[in-house]
């Protein structure tokens, strides 16, 4: 493991992870609201926001799936040192990370059980751009309606139909993050 892998974590984990957790919580509670995350320098191709989300939400007890380009030696080593999450195949993952294309088909991921809808995956989706333009979002946490540059609508509509089961999504781009919980209704503009 080279020294670069050993850097890029939180310098002050208790404070930084609490601040990041608050921001991610806000992103999930207000679907479509774009928040900023800081404090990590993960290896390429991970965005800073994806790195901070991993440091904050995952640990040795949360099986993680790395998809596509994210599944490379520098990222695997970085995860091993800073997080310690077991790397698993898609179906066993509590968290998954990759571009929307790399995560396909998203039906592979756990959507929970009727008794335990919480036993589902959270997808951290790396985006080329993340803006408040695109499909319409409505539902819990949204006063009237909002918009987010989602990669598609069909998959999210299918996921919404599983409610209370289903996966949850975090979209990351650079230092920005937005949430799309399973409870949000997505409609093409």
């Amino acid at each position: 493991m080279n020294t670069h892998t050993l850097s890029g974590g939180f310098a002050d984990a208790p404070i930084q992870s609490a601040q990041a957790f608050r921001a991610i919580l806000d992103a999930m509670a207000r679907p479509g609201k774009i928040m900023a995350l800081h404090g990590a320098a993960p290896p390429a191709p991970l965005s800073m926001a994806a790195g901070v989300a991993l440091l904050t939400l995952t640990d040795a007890t949360t099986p993680l799936h790395l998809a596509g380009a994210a599944d490379c030696a520098p990222v695997r080593d970085w995860v091993a040192f800073h997080i310690g999450a077991r790397l698993v195949k898609a179906g066993d993952a509590a968290f998954a990370l990759g571009t929307w294309a790399a995560l396909q088909p998203v039906t592979r991921f756990a959507t929970g059980l009727p008794d335990y809808p919480d036993r589902s995956a959270t997808l951290i989706v790396e985006m080329d751009r993340l803006t408040n333009h695109g499909p319409t979002l409505t539902g819990p946490g949204i006063e009237t309606a909002t918009w987010l540059s989602l990669p598609e609508t069909a998959a999210f509509r299918a996921n919404r139909a599983l409610f209370p089961m289903g996966f949850d999504c975090l979209f990351t781009c650079g230092s920005r993050i937005a949430g799309l919980p399973r409870s949000t209704k997505v409609e093409a503009l």
């Binding site: 020294t3 050993l6 850097s7 310098a11 984990a13 040192f81 800073h82």
Partner: protein, 144 residues
Amino acid sequence: MTWNSRKDWMAVLAKADPARLAALMPDLPAHSFLRSPEVGAVMVQARAGGTGAPFNLGEMTVTRCSVQLTDGPVGHAWVQGRDARHSTHAAIMDALMHTPQAAALGSGVLDVLHREAQAARQARTEKAAATKVDFFTLVRGEDA
């Protein structure tokens, strides 16, 4: 004893008395933290029947830390308990074992710790041995 195995010296450092380790390392080289001392828990597993399927017995406290010396070498430590200085000393020692000072530190620090741990363990073994039962037969039932 020659110290070639990182696994061996990390175990000796982890099991050392924190105050004793600190006393044997009065001068610390310049270093920075790649991971500041972090207190956490390790779930201890055991096996049903001693050898069967694993189960979770309970947790223990542990402190881990990673350092980098100014001239490059990296050291890691995972030590039982919640003593940040213990983990720092152990990580610095681990880093120093990758430098030309390794031989001197092997005899000056690791040998001492190893010897003392062995002596303490031997004393306990001998106390246990003193409580071993020597059975002797008084009367055999069938002779009565």
